[in-house]
Symmetry: C2
Subunit: 342 residues, 2 copies
């Protein structure tokens, strides 16, 4: 049995879902993979919980409930810094769940840099630092002999990176197309029913699918980040965010969707990597796809990705939960696979 210490940064929806899931899956992880998961600490911008201070024998299992009033909890340590949380013992895995900031990459970049530098593996759900600074973070991981995994940042429970890196080994990928943001696909699906964009967006916000500030999703930034990370990992490209030709769905009208439907097509916001001749490019584009396209039938909050290969034909992966629990499951998968050598 291998003991694996976890330190969590970010106590939002994903971070709290991760704590719950890791607790729930402790038994199966021991039984199936010989890994004994221990949550050592969990931090947000105000401080953190330290398992060593918890009065409960279960450690931080009650942490999700404690987050709204952290100062009431025996393990809460105001102003706790990551360095102290990582401590001096055997390195484990930093689980990075802070909010994505695609302008600065912070606070994820600082957290990941510190943890990798101290020999901790990283499983990340936040995208900012990965999109802005992947080469430096990856080099740091390699030089410290640890892993940097980010399924949680690349469509979460939809296995985009695993399939691209493991299942397509030795194949050459000439094109990748994905519906990578559940919110935009949901809004487009609702608009097909005749609801205008603004009303469909408000509805998505009311039911908690879209953020109060929805621009990361509906202006295509979220899709851009994901196709960038996937393309760089699977097709070996070295794209930066400025290389992505990007459009969002703000200007799509119910009339556009109606016309596409009349032509037997469906309108999707696609992230795309295209290699033609020696040219390689990535883009986020509102696209009409016909019935024969593998992504035609992907509706609602569903996501999917299609890889076009030289030797294996066309492979599409669809589904995967889009909620915080799905993202938590992707983080946990990455942690398990780090210790299985995958």
């Amino acid at each position: 049995m291998r003991r694996v210490d976890l330190v969590l940064t970010g106590l939002g929806n994903v971070g709290r879902a991760f704590v719950k899931l890791a607790w729930e899956k402790r038994g199966p992880c021991r039984d199936r993979y010989g890994i004994d998961l221990r949550l050592k600490a969990a931090l947000n911008s105000k401080g953190g919980f330290l398992a060593s201070r918890a009065s409960d024998a279960a450690g931080l299992a009650d942490l999700p409930a404690a987050v709204p009033a952290p100062t009431q909890h025996s393990a809460w340590h105001p102003g706790l810094r990551l360095g102290e949380a990582l401590g001096e013992g055997e390195p484990g895995v930093l689980v990075e769940c802070t909010p994505t900031d695609i302008r600065t990459g912070e606070p994820g970049r600082a957290f990941m840099t510190e943890a990798l530098g101290k020999g901790w593996h990283v499983a990340a759900a936040s995208k900012g630092a990965l999109v802005l600074d992947f080469p430096a973070l990856s080099a740091l991981a390699i030089s410290n002999g640890v892993r940097l995994k980010y399924s949680g940042a690349t469509a979460a429970a939809l296995p985009t990176l695993d399939v691209g890196e493991v299942s397509l080994a030795a194949a050459s990928v000439s094109r990748i197309e994905g519906i990578l943001t559940g919110v935009t696909n949901h809004i487009l699906s609702r608009m097909e029913g005749g609801i205008p964009f603004a009303a469909a967006l408000k509805e998505a916000q009311d039911i908690g699918i879209a953020e109060p500030d929805p621009s990361l999703d509906i202006d295509g930034w979220d899709t851009a980040c994901k196709i960038l990370l996937i393309s760089n990992a699977v097709a070996g490209t070295g794209f930066r965010l400025a290389d992505v030709r990007r459009e969002g769905i703000r200007n799509v009208t119910p009339g556009d969707l109606k016309q596409a439907r009349a032509e037997g097509k469906a309108v999707k916001l696609l992230g795309r990597f295209i290699q033609e001749g020696g040219e390689r490019q990535i883009e986020v584009a509102v696209s009409s796809v016909d019935r024969s396209h593998p992504l035609y039938g992907i509706s609602g909050t569903n996501k999917a990705i299609t890889y076009f290969t030289d030797t294996m034909g066309t492979i599409t992966v669809a589904g995967g939960k889009s909620d915080p629990r799905g993202t938590a499951a992707a983080l946990l998968k990455d942690i398990v696979n780090i210790f299985r050598g995958v």
Copy 2:
């Protein structure tokens, strides 16, 4: 750069496609994975080619063309046995491509047993021995510290096992459903156009999709083998072939398909693993699926598999070439992943 010796058993369509592909991908495997693939020998029931005897500096690159008249080739060695082909050097990978025999498991079982016992990894496309004797083969691999991989036997270029074992790590799978045989799905698709079973089968044989003896496919044995191997690997079951409730497509009529279509459904031959309460079972069944089912739109020679999980929702993988080159690509993927530790 790590040199990896390969010995191939079986010189049929898949074996020859593998030789071509491995030669074509030597450069990419060196550049991307640091693996230098060398075909050391290739055997069929009459003898084998030994690279050490090839007059050509390229070794056995011309082997696919040489197979029809092997005795004309400088490297042909009548009556060559596997033991001599494996030789005494650093063990590599046995690439097992002999025909599937689900009654005896031979000759694959003997070949795999000998190779694993001598410390060779195995990448298998033939199903017989895996279906009949997996626990013994797996134990032999473990006791010799080597890997037994079989993507080529579990829907080939469609990544069934990778997704189940890697992407769903730490998730619990309560149900698996798959369209796992391209031939039967093709025949059912043609029958939807009103063609009776016998005519659709003959057509599939004429264009080389179906075998002269088609019973392995159309009576559901092929699907049974695949769902058995996938379920045992991903859901941790210990099913044997006799445990599979199985039906084929011989008795399906165009009328059945027409009626399903009138009800908004499609008829598919599904391999299924189902866990309900404490009960677990596997079956191969002709099933009507409605539009909301992830496998509804999978037609022609396409294959697909859906995993129903506790934490990641429902994940479907579709596509993947069904031809010998697709199977060869699955074998090559497994070989690469063995040396990447996946």
